[in-house]
Amino acid sequence: MRWFWIDRFTELVSGETATAIKTISLSEEHLHDHFSGIPTMPNSLILEGMAQTAGMLVSQFNAFKERVILAKVPRLVFHCRGVPGDTLTYRAKLEAIEETGARAITTSHIGERIQAEAEILFAHIDRETAHRPLFEGEDFGDLLKSLRIFEVGRNPDGSQLNCPEHLLSKT
């Protein structure tokens, strides 16, 4: 089992922006008790979805070679609830990226309505051991394929985003 809080990417422009969607379903077990009779997508998991959207954008910029962790959320606002049947559209904009980390602005929308917004800071960690596989026994290439990153991803010049060579054998 993996910690997926987005269903798939619908757009990604390398180093600039990404959009992903998450459809909330009543079959998700965590909604059964949160809250009884008022199923509500936990805000913490919505933040995680926004962070995964932005985190993949950060990670893709460095060809998925850096270990990117969510380091800080300086600003987080929720405007309304997410409930079963809603499709959350997460948008991330990369504001800055450098050797040690990155900063992104993210939003969550339900249709045209803004549902949440966050500033997220990512850190690149453990650079000395970054060459070791992060997903032991798992296929990271398959994860990226499931999320359709290379299907929808583009370079800033509009050309198709290619899967990095070190992941090719696994996709």
Binding site: K72, P74, R75, E95, A96, L121, A123
Partner: protein, 126 residues
């Protein structure tokens, strides 16, 4: 070129946003770690905000020269030696290190940086 007051106001705004402190807590004498509660990850946040606010580029290690603080040529028994202090002063002409020099324990270095040091650094870049 922005005035000293304009630099201070923008630095203050960056610190308020990055550290979640109140406006009036950010005084020139306030230390980032000791008074404003900055943690290591906050420094990356502060750097990004200053870069955006002033449209400047802050190279890694320029504002916080961690390479000196982790260099065994300069650090002996957890303290910066004389060569290290000379190097720090050369690299950080914007910072008042007089207090730190009295007891140059590496772990205390970050606690000695003040809001004024930050303003001085930015003024040297804009």
């Amino acid at each position: 070129m922005p005035s000293k007051e304009e630099v201070f106001e923008k630095v203050r705004e960056s610190l308020v946003d990055a550290l979640g402190v109140d406006d009036d807590e950010v005084t020139p004498e306030a230390t980032l770690v000791g008074d404003l509660g900055a943690e290591s990850i906050d420094f990356l946040d502060i750097v990004f905000r200053l870069e955006k606010s002033f449209d400047i580029k802050i190279p890694r290690g320029e504002l916080f020269p961690e390479d000196i603080l982790t260099n065994t040529d300069y650090v002996v028994d957890g303290k910066i030696n004389a060569e290290g202090l000379t190097e720090l002063k050369k690299r950080m002409p914007f910072a008042d290190l007089s207090e730190f020099e009295k007891n140059p324990v590496v772990q205390e270095f970050a606690t000695s940086l003040t809001v004024q040091d930050m303003c001085n650094y930015v003024e040297s870049k804009v």
